[in-house]
Subunit: 201 residues, 2 copies
């Protein structure tokens, strides 16, 4: 009697598998679900089931797509520039880039960045399929749009070295001061990059 009933223990157990959820927060989440209205819990359960039933990853670019639409809308859109390929870490990065309205080429989603500490090597990312795509497509430029983090940098450098022998143009997003920022509050590394990559007026 001194333990949680089986359904509660099982829910806590399932919640603990989620990233960043330890035992304490799994317990807190489980109690929240227990106390919430039945409709709320049902909506959460059905949202989980439905996302798995309706969303998949594009077999070409690995971005999220409707299960009935593979390859995805970006991959099959003839209006998009077929000679430009933008490589990103995560599906939500595609959304951020689309919001700028500045890019009209194709995408490739790696699903992460190299991180030896967390056991993420090249085989954990969609790098092999990137190379295969580059062999079959007529791409002129690959934009490496990884995050401006150590892991993103390492990933961009790694892929850059792989792509060099192929002889296409490989670029990286500019780093520097954020628009609307203040020199006063820029960290040293950003300021260093802003100086190193300064442009002529």
């Amino acid at each position: 009697m001194a333990e949680f009933a089986e359904p509660i223990a099982r829910l806590i157990d399932e919640l603990r598998r989620l990233p960043g959820v330890g035992h304490k927060s799994a317990q807190r989440l489980a109690f929240h679900i227990l106390r919430s209205a039945p409709e709320d819990a049902a909506r959460l359960a059905s949202a989980i089931a439905e996302v798995k039933a309706r969303i998949t990853f594009c077999s070409v670019c690995h971005n999220l797509t409707d299960i009935e639409r593979d390859p995805c809308a970006y991959c099959v859109n003839p209006a998009r520039d077929q000679r430009l390929l933008c490589v990103v870490e995560e599906p939500h990065n595609v959304i951020a880039i689309e919001r700028t309205g500045e890019f009209h080429g194709l995408y490739h989603v790696l699903h992460g960045a190299l991180s030896p500490l967390r056991g993420i090597g090249p085989n954990e990312l969609r790098i092999r399929s990137l190379l295969e795509r580059l062999r079959s497509l007529d791409i002129a430029e690959v934009i490496l749009a990884m995050n401006p983090t150590t892991e993103g940098e390492a990933t961009a450098n790694y892929i850059g070295r792989l792509l060099k022998p192929i002889g296409l143009r490989v670029t990286r997003l500019a780093m520097g001061l954020p628009v609307g920022g203040d020199l006063e509050y820029a960290d040293e590394v950003t300021l260093h990059k802003a100086l190193a990559y300064r442009r002529e007026l």
Copy 2:
């Protein structure tokens, strides 16, 4: 095309309703669910549905109980001391107290502690039903086993004041140095309590 597809947006939305989950972590959890094996996601969804289908709160003590077992196993167990009532904040506190094997009375779960800052007043807790239980039962001692926090203290003091006129014994869990602790590392407040509540040998 610059937003998440509807099922993903809906899942992120549902996850954000969970306590302590902001937009960024909801997004991270949603992507984790998207990437996980279909069986894993199905297990999580069914664990949520099942906990709501099988677990409820005891109508007497408000502890968790099987939906077919209300009042709960503690409330209907004649072997338990019917003159001792232990009041706790949360259902998992019952489990912690049961593990000690030291308490064999009845429980009452408040489902929280008073917290004006978070908008939790006496009406949000199961205090009225505690008073009703005390009127109908022949209780000799109420142990206020709230957490040793500001909110727990405030709750214990509030309930203590309500119970005083009834004329029964009201106790509070002892505060002091944790067993296995070190004076060196005890915080001031704990040390203060340990001194104030020192016992004769």
